[in-house]
Symmetry: C2
Subunit: 208 residues, 2 copies
């Protein structure tokens, strides 16, 4: 339980202040700053200060702040959409596929926490943000379709509106970014969280 | 379903630009601006422009921006804590009390949407924000206690961690502010949303 604090913890210490960055490690710093200050509130100057390298060094790695946003969001989206391509998401009864997707979505969320946090916070002021929102809707739509298929196959209750239920399911899943933090040393107990989400969503609180 | 859009809708039109404000109607404008710009990003100048009255007219109603925040958050908290004082939250089996509190929390959230949205977004930079977060924790704690009591009475499944489950339950409930909008004319279908939340949380998706 140590990783479950009442409030989000402070961001972890930043990399050493030398330009030993790879595109990936620079991205990790940028995502941290975007999540702290908001994308709109972040300037190249902020990124330069957080990374401890000059703006021109940053421009050596990327063309723009928006490119960093696009790369970060791609990482989150690639992880989420990859779940939909897994065999377990495509074979068998819809209820089992839906359960697999629910569990693996939580896995991706905890494994790629800062990237998914950023994805969930974008609000559509730039082309990249509008694209991110469009892809999120597409993901949600694919899950809603699974949910409808599971109702049609008679495994999910039919007395709940599919769209509203999908929203609430994602509301529960996505809320994990608000408080989940990896264990010290980077270990994850994301599997425990994923398991609880699945049991709560599919079986409910009430003892059968 | 018309009130459930894929993305949050634009804020509604603002009141006429004359100082015919009461403390309540000025508060409604302020909350709208806080939710749009963030509390930190809102100046008295922004409030003056949004309300269409001078800053000194605003100071006729309130002493400071923080007073507006405190009043707005109090309105949300008063609504939420009043639920815990209702007879149905205090009599009978814990599972029924928990179900009542869940349902009524969603009711308050939809009825007091902008105020609860603001409450859920505060992050603790001022004394008022820290107080708001403390009160939220207190509310969550009271609900977690109900959940534990329902497990002890044998009505809720015992295989879920109470703290994690409470977080996920509130994650689902609180996500409603992200997409819920009142019907045109101000009518509410909050009761339908509350009913779906209760069924999903207590019975789960799977057909029994």
């Amino acid at each position: 339980m140590d990783n479950i604090g009442a409030m989000p913890s402070k961001p972890s210490a930043r990399p050493p202040r030398r330009d030993t960055y790879t595109p990936e490690s620079l991205l990790a710093v940028a995502v941290e700053v975007f999540n702290e200050r908001g994308y709109d509130g972040t300037s190249m100057e902020h990124l330069s200060r957080a990374a401890g390298i000059s703006k021109s060094s940053i421009y050596h790695h990327v063309r723009s702040k928006e490119e960093l946003l696009r790369r970060a969001i791609s990482r989150a989206l690639d992880g989420l959409f990859a779940v939909l391509d897994e065999p377990e998401a495509n074979e068998g009864r819809a209820i089992d596929r839906l359960e697999h997707v629910t569990r693996r979505t939580v896995d991706v969320l905890t494994a790629e926490l800062p990237y998914v946090t950023l994805l969930l916070r974008v609000r559509g002021n730039t082309r990249t943000e509008r694209w991110a929102m469009e892809r999120r809707r597409e993901f949600d739509h694919r899950v809603a379709e699974l949910l409808k298929a599971a109702v049609a196959e008679g495994d999910l209750r039919a007395d709940l509106d599919a769209r509203l239920t999908t929203r609430l399911l994602f509301g529960m899943i996505n809320s994990v970014v608000e408080w989940y933090r990896p264990l010290p040393g980077g270990a994850s107990d994301g599997a425990r969280v994923a398991d609880t989400v699945v049991r709560l969503a599919f079986e409910g609180l009430r003892k059968q």
